[in-house]
């Protein structure tokens, strides 16, 4: 279905508005605590979007993406140290190197993990994540082990410190979204969706499923690794159990499920809802693990009320309202546009 032109115009307007708000945010908000929340929120927008390229489009749920996040951070810290890069803006130029190194790791892990399907794949990714975490703890000569790895500390002062990181995270989020959008409308993306629906059938009609899955996995991991690199530089000090934190991997999955698995904007929505809420809880109730109770509650709500996530559910609701308002043949035989049928609004 080609959406009516006013809907398309409204979507474009919304997109421009969101981008403008995201770009100008630090100019209007100078409270470091708030900008800090924004940095982490935009970070999760990128993470959830990158995860969705694998988990949403192909249906392979990885609970081990924290491994790539932490590996990217470690790889970045080590690259900066070995190349003797000074703190400041220059390190950001080396983020893609962390991405490339993460891609190499993801190729190896994916090659093995993608021989399994469904629940087995989930378990294998969890196991892989703990292996990476153990290696970070035990390769003391390389990673510093339990005493952590430090990054060069940027010379920026308090009020401004978060701003460059905010924009770096924003760039990563936008890159992830662009890739996600591009893949979804491509022939490659169609193959991924076919794998999600029925992998054997996809093979039977010529989709090279293994290569496709591995490519999606590697793209997803590479983006997560680059975001991890920016994170490491931002927090300036990383330890194995915080850089490779299972809860990071679970949070981003929850965000995607809340917003809408396999949709373009679902991961964004999920991250924008959940991450500020989690940080708000942390600030107001101390660094307790109360947010885990909150996450459990959200998970229950999603499973019980919105099993497909917010965007597909709301999309269905709007379609039903539209169909009721204008009953006619043109509204019932309708949905040949790939970007609207699965409840995904095209941008």
């Amino acid at each position: 279905m080609r959406s009516p032109s006013w809907i398309r115009a409204a979507k474009w307007a919304a997109l421009v508005l969101v981008l403008a708000v995201a770009l100008l945010f630090p100019a209007f908000e100078s409270d470091p605590a708030t900008v800090n929340i924004a940095v982490f929120t935009v970070m999760y927008v990128g993470l959830a979007t990158a995860w969705n390229i694998m988990g949403g489009y192909t249906g392979y749920v990885s609970l081990g993406h924290a491994a790539f996040f932490g590996f990217g951070a470690y790889a970045f810290g080590l690259v900066l140290a070995h190349l003797g890069i000074q703190a400041g803006y220059e390190p950001f130029l080396f983020v893609p190197i962390a991405g490339v190194l993460t891609v190499v790791l993801a190729l190896v892990i994916g090659w093995i993990a993608l021989r399994t399907r469904a629940a087995t794949f989930v378990i294998v990714t969890i196991a892989m994540m703990f292996m990476v975490q153990l290696l970070a703890e035990n390769l003391v000569g390389l990673t510093g082990g339990g005493s952590g790895l430090s990054f060069p500390v940027p010379p920026w002062t308090g009020d401004f410190f978060d701003t460059p990181f905010y924009y770096a995270m924003l760039v990563m989020a936008v890159v992830s979204l662009l890739l996600s959008w591009w893949i979804r409308r491509s022939k490659f993306g169609l193959g991924l969706l076919a794998i999600r629906d029925d992998e054997d059938k996809a093979l039977a009609v010529g989709v090279p499923a293994h290569a496709y899955k591995l490519t999606a996995f590697v793209i997803s991991a590479g983006l997560v690794g680059m975001i991890g690199a920016v994170y490491g530089y931002y927090v300036t000090y990383i330890y194995p159990q915080y850089a490779i934190d299972p809860l990071v991997g679970i949070s981003l999955v929850l965000m995607v499920f809340l917003g809408g698995l396999g949709t373009l904007w679902g991961p964004v929505l999920g991250a924008v809802i959940l991450e500020p809420a989690q940080l708000w809880l942390a600030y107001n109730f101390g660094a307790s693990l109360l947010y885990l109770v909150f996450y459990a509650a959200v998970f229950l709500v999603v499973i019980l009320l919105l099993p497909r996530g917010i965007i597909p559910s709301v999309g269905d609701l709007l379609k039903r309202i539209a169909a009721r308002r204008a009953v006619g043949p043109s509204d019932t035989a309708s949905t040949s546009d790939a970007h609207t049928v699965a409840g995904v609004p095209s941008p």
Partner: protein
């Protein structure tokens, strides 16, 4: 000319020998029926030919080239399509998208460009129209009726223009009128040069459609010949009815 040759193919699952030295050959442009009692190994033969199972012994040759050991997607790429028992389509893709998944493109740029090219879309719509299901092009596969799914599956398999199509129970579970239509579609595609091998339990349908029938029993070929030959074969009657 022989298009596909199955030579002494065998497959064991643990202690059960599902396919036991099965040999058959398909002539270019023919429609061949593969029949046999339940558990005689018909679907296993399909899975061996199309790369879903690895053989234990024997060989499969397509246009003279051995394809045993190739993966399913590669075999489809060589020109052998298949459908599944109980019609498998992609439920969360539209019927049109179901048609576009099998389309072959070469090169990286073709892969990352849009999922729907205009010429492909036109071809898909033409094919859907030929199967009389153009009206459901925009609906999700999962919302189609079983008969529409059967037609969609057949139409989608044809999108990459395979030379040989293996149909697993094309007439299974559909009403007599639709069986008639499916038979017509197969005949029409056959007239255009497509070779068919089909597994089917509906005897009038198989006998009316196929030039040659191969009877499988306990994983091996029990008899083969024209429908008339096979119908009169005492061994075949024994296998079906028990002696």
């Amino acid at each position: 000319m022989t298009l596909l040759e199955v030579q002494s193919l065998s497959k064991r699952f643990g202690g059960v020998t599902a396919v036991d030295g099965c040999s058959l050959s398909l002539d270019l442009g023919s429609i061949t029926g593969l029949i046999g009692p339940n558990g005689s190994g018909k679907t296993t033969v399909f899975n061996l030919i199309t790369g879903f199972l690895a053989k234990d012994a024997g060989d499969v040759r397509f246009k003279g080239q051995s394809i045993a050991g190739f993966g399913p997607n590669r075999i489809y790429g060589l020109g052998i399509g298949r459908t599944f028992q109980l019609a498998r389509i992609f439920p969360r893709l539209t019927a049109l998208e179901n048609m576009l998944v099998p389309v072959r493109r070469s090169g990286f740029r073709a892969l990352v460009s849009r999922g729907q090219w205009n010429d492909e879309r036109t071809r898909a719509m033409d094919m859907l129209a030929a199967m009389d299901i153009a009206s459901v092009a925009g609906l999700l596969g999962g919302s189609l009726s079983y008969g529409q799914r059967k037609l969609l599956e057949l139409a989608a398999v044809m999108m990459a223009q395979p030379q040989l199509v293996l149909l697993d129970e094309p007439a299974g579970g559909v009403n007599p009128a639709l069986i008639e239509r499916i038979g017509e579609h197969i005949r029409e595609l056959n007239r255009q040069g497509v070779t068919f091998l089909l597994v089917e339990h509906n005897m009038p349908f198989v006998m009316g459609l196929c030039q040659k029938i191969v009877v499988l029993h306990r994983g091996a070929v029990l008899a083969e010949g024209t429908p008339a030959d096979v119908r009169g074969n005492a061994a075949v009657l024994d296998a079906y009815l028990g002696s």
